[in-house]
């Protein structure tokens, strides 16, 4: 009986894959918005003249803007990759043949926005995330309007 038992047994998977299927492109959108906002703030920041204290403040503020921009760009990329690799499935690709290209470009824009101070690329990143938003909700047959927090 036991021999039969061992030879007949197969494995059934009951594995986990957190975050357990709760996906929403909103997390990528929020990060991308922060990147856009920080890019604008960096570009708007005025270099002070003379005053040592004002100069120190300027450098401090600039460093903080840069830090947040880089963090959020990295986060936007991670959130996009989670959607791309975990949520989207071959059936979605059949329906949206440009899916890989959309994500690839969006991820590349995250890298560009992290490295550069480019309003153009930050806006393009927002457009790319919007495209992901539209495809994502279309796969769920849900009409979720695009919106931004800022």
């Amino acid at each position: 009986m036991f021999e039969k038992f061992r030879s007949n047994i197969e494995v059934a998977e009951a594995h986990c894959d957190a975050p357990c299927g709760v996906y929403d492109p909103a997390s990528a959108r929020i990060a991308a918005e922060a990147v856009l906002s920080m890019t604008k703030k960096i570009l708007d920041l005025k270099v002070p003249e003379g005053d040592a204290k004002a100069t120190a403040n300027y450098h401090n503020t600039l460093a903080r803007y840069i830090l947040v921009k880089e963090e959020q760009a990295r986060d936007a990329k991670e959130q996009l990759l989670i959607l791309w690799t975990d949520y989207f499935k071959p059936v979605h690709l059949e329906k949206y043949p440009n899916l890989h290209d959309t994500f690839w470009k969006a991820a590349k824009l995250c890298s560009a926005c992290k490295v550069e101070v480019s309003l153009e690329h930050a806006n393009e990143l927002m457009d790319a995330v919007k495209e992901v938003h539209n495809i994502f909700w279309a796969t769920k047959d849900r009409d979720v309007a695009w919106y931004t927090a800022s």
Binding site: N8, V11, A14, A18, C20, G21
Partner: protein
């Protein structure tokens, strides 16, 4: 859990020895607390499943993988929405959509044993 799985009785063991039941080793914790990693269950071959049944099915995208999940819902077209009992640790229909009835291999009818498997 409302749908606790019963232990195997002598009839189950007889059916297993007569090849009327398949034995499967559970790997993973997605069906906790109903099933634990290392449990061995007996499966009756059938494609008819009702809501709340625990089923053994082919993974919709990984053909070599078989999964064990609970039927959360049966759609009008016969497709099944599957859920793990452990909401924090499960890849289920929230991740891969519904599965078709033809992917169902059978229904988990009882727990046969707890194996200490060397991994």
């Amino acid at each position: 859990m409302e749908n606790e799985l019963r232990g195997a009785n002598w009839k189950d063991r007889l059916r297993f020895s007569l090849d009327r039941r398949l034995a499967f080793l559970i790997e993973g914790e997605s069906m906790w607390p109903t099933l634990n990693d290392g449990d061995v269950v007996l499966v009756k071959r059938t494609q008819s499943a009702r809501q709340d049944d625990i089923v053994l099915a082919n993974h919709p995208y990984r053909s070599s993988v078989k999964i064990v999940k609970r039927v959360a819902e049966i759609l009008p077209d016969g497709a099944l929405i599957l859920r793990g009992d452990n909401p924090l640790e499960s890849t289920d229909s929230r991740a891969f959509g519904s599965i078709s009835k033809s992917d169902v291999i059978g229904r988990v009818v009882c727990r046969l044993a707890k194996l200490n498997v060397d991994k």
